[in-house]
Symmetry: C2
Amino acid sequence: MRLTPLAQGLPASVPFVGPEAQERARGAAFAARLGANESVFGPSPQAVAAMADAARDAWMYGDPEAHDLRAALATHHGIPVANVVPGEGIDGLLGYLVRLLVGPGDAVVTSAGAYPTFNYHVAGYGGTLHTVPFKGDHEDPEALLARAAKVDAKLIYLSNPDNPMGSWHGADVIRDMIARVPEGCVLCLDEAYADLAPPGTVPPLDVSDPRVIRMRTFSKAHGLAGLRVGYALGHADLIQAFDKVRNHFGLGRVAQAGALAALADADWLAEVQARVAQSRDAIAAIAAQHGLTPLPSATNFVTVECGRDGDFARRVLAALIDAGIFVRMPGVAPLDRCIRIGCGTAADMDALREALPRALDRARS
Amino acid sequence: MRLTPLAQGLPASVPFVGPEAQERARGAAFAARLGANESVFGPSPQAVAAMADAARDAWMYGDPEAHDLRAALATHHGIPVANVVPGEGIDGLLGYLVRLLVGPGDAVVTSAGAYPTFNYHVAGYGGTLHTVPFKGDHEDPEALLARAAKVDAKLIYLSNPDNPMGSWHGADVIRDMIARVPEGCVLCLDEAYADLAPPGTVPPLDVSDPRVIRMRTFSKAHGLAGLRVGYALGHADLIQAFDKVRNHFGLGRVAQAGALAALADADWLAEVQARVAQSRDAIAAIAAQHGLTPLPSATNFVTVECGRDGDFARRVLAALIDAGIFVRMPGVAPLDRCIRIGCGTAADMDALREALPRALDRARS
C-alpha cells in the first residue's frame, strides 16, 4: 500500500481514550461517568420513543437531505433552510469544514488547550495550526484575531461557552469578534453548550455574514451524544459547500428521528437545564468544601482548580479514576492545574463527595 | 471564504437523489420502495430491541474503539481484531480508504457504471478516475488489472456480487485477481451483498495479504441501512491506518448495539436470505411474464433488461416511479438498457405486478 504523503505523516493515535477503554484496563466499570461532558440526565423520553420507532424502520436509509430535520432546525432558529446543514455530530461537521477550507500549509488559529478533535482535523488535512494562550481561563478573542491577521488564517476556532474551562464571553464580545474577522477568514464558533449558558451569551444569528459558521449539537443538553447529530448554521454559500464533501447518507434514519423529537421537546430541555444548574452548584460545593476552587461554568461541567500545578491535578485525576470516578482535565498549562467534573445525578454527586477527599489525600501524600 | 482549490472544483451535487425527495416532488409516498437495495424484510427483531435499549443510553458516546463490535466481528470471521475496523457504513469507510491512499492526480480504476459514491470520494480527494467497461454484464477483472498496471493505480474498486447488475464472479476468479494486483496497488473488494450470494462466491479471507481490503455492511442482508454500520477486513497495517483519519466517535452507541445484535442473530439472516431468494424469483417471473429478461442475481435486487435502449428503459423507470414504484437503473450504456428492482414483500410484488404492464405500455407509446 502507498499512503499519501499527508496520510503517511499522520500519527495513528486518537484524540481521546474512551471511558470504556479505561474500564477495560482497570477491570471494573466506573461508578460515575462524569468525564466526557455527556448529559447523564439522558435524552428526552419522546426522543427515546422516536428512536425505538425508527429502529423498526432502520432498514431504510435516512433521507440524504435530512429534509424534515433541516426544516425543523430552520424554523427553530427562524432562518431559511439554506442556512443550516445537519451532520454526524460537531466532530463530523468540523471535519467537513476543515476539509473545505484548509489545504496543506494553510494557517488555522485556535487556543492552546481548546478542542483536540478540531486540531486532529486540521492536522489531518495538512493545515498549520497556530495557537494563542487562554487569558484568565477564557479564550482570548483579541489574540485569536491578531494571530489570524498575522498568519493569514483561513479558519479560527473558538468555543463559547468554552470547553475545557466552562467559561464564556458575553454576546457583545462575540459579536464584536465576528465583525473583526479578517477578510478571507472564517470563524468557526462552536456553540455546543449554548443551551446551557446564561442569557446574553449567544449573539443573535446573522446568516448573511460569511465570516462566521456556528456549530450546535444534540450531544450535550439534548443528551444524544451516542446518536451523532450536530448542525452548522451559516452563510448559504458555505453551508451549500458541505454538499461537495459530506457523506450524503451519513445521517441515518434513527439519528434523524431522535434529533427531530429531541428538538420538539422543549420541556425536557428546560428540565435538563434545571438539573444541570443544580448539579453545577453541587460540584462547586463539594469542591469548595475540600479547599478547591470551582470556576464559574456555562456548561454541563465544572472546571475545578486543584490549587497547585499540573502534576498535582494529574495525581488528583488519577486517584479519582482509580476510585471509579471518570473525569478528565485540560491538557495544557496553566489550564492543567484544573480537573473537569461533569454534572451528574444525585448518586453521581454522592460518589464524588465520597471519592474527592480520599483522592486529594492520596495526591498530597 | 476561501475554499481550497480542490474543494472549489467539486460540484455541490450528490450521487443519489433519495426516494424522500422524489416523494416530496410527486406529492405522494411510494407504494413500494424497491430502488435503494434496502432490505424491506427489516432488521432482526433482536437488533430492534437492542437499538431501543441503547436509545435510553444514547446520552453516552459510543465506545470510540467499538471494542465489543470489533471483537464480535473478528470472532465471526475467525480473524484477529487487528484486521477489522468498523465504520459509518461502507460509504464512510470508502471515504477513509480513498483519503488514505489517493491524493491529487493519483490514479484509481473502477468499472464504468459501478458505485457512484466511490467515484464521489475519488473526485473529492483529487484522484484521477479511470474506467473500464463491464463485460457481459460482469465487472471485468482482467481489464481492471490491465488498466491498473498501465496507469500505476493506487486503488482498484470491484464489487462482488456486483451492483448495479446483480452479477457475480466465483471465488476462484476473485482469488486469482487478488493474486495479480500490481505492486503498490490495493484492491477494494466491496462485498456488501456477500450474505446474499450463492456458495462459492466469496473467497476465503487472507488478512495477511496487503493487496486487498474487503468491505462488508449491515445495510443489506442485515436490514440496517438507516443505522450506518459497515466494516473493512484487511491487512493490519492498512486497517490500523484508518485510525489516522477516522471520526473516532463516529459510530454511535445505538449503531454499535444494533449491529452487534444483528450479527448474533443468524436465524434472522437465514430468514432474510430465504425471503430474498423467493422475491428474486417473483421479480424474475413478473418480468418474464411481460417479455422482459431478468438477469441472474446474487443480491437483494434483480436487474431486468427492458429489451431496447437506455431511453426506453428510462421511460419504463419514469412510468414505474409515477405509478408509485421506487426503482433505479444503471447510469451508463449498455447497462442502462436495464432497470434494477429490489426484492420486496408480497405486497410490494403485487404492486409491481400491477404497475409493470402499464409502465411498459406507456413507455412503448
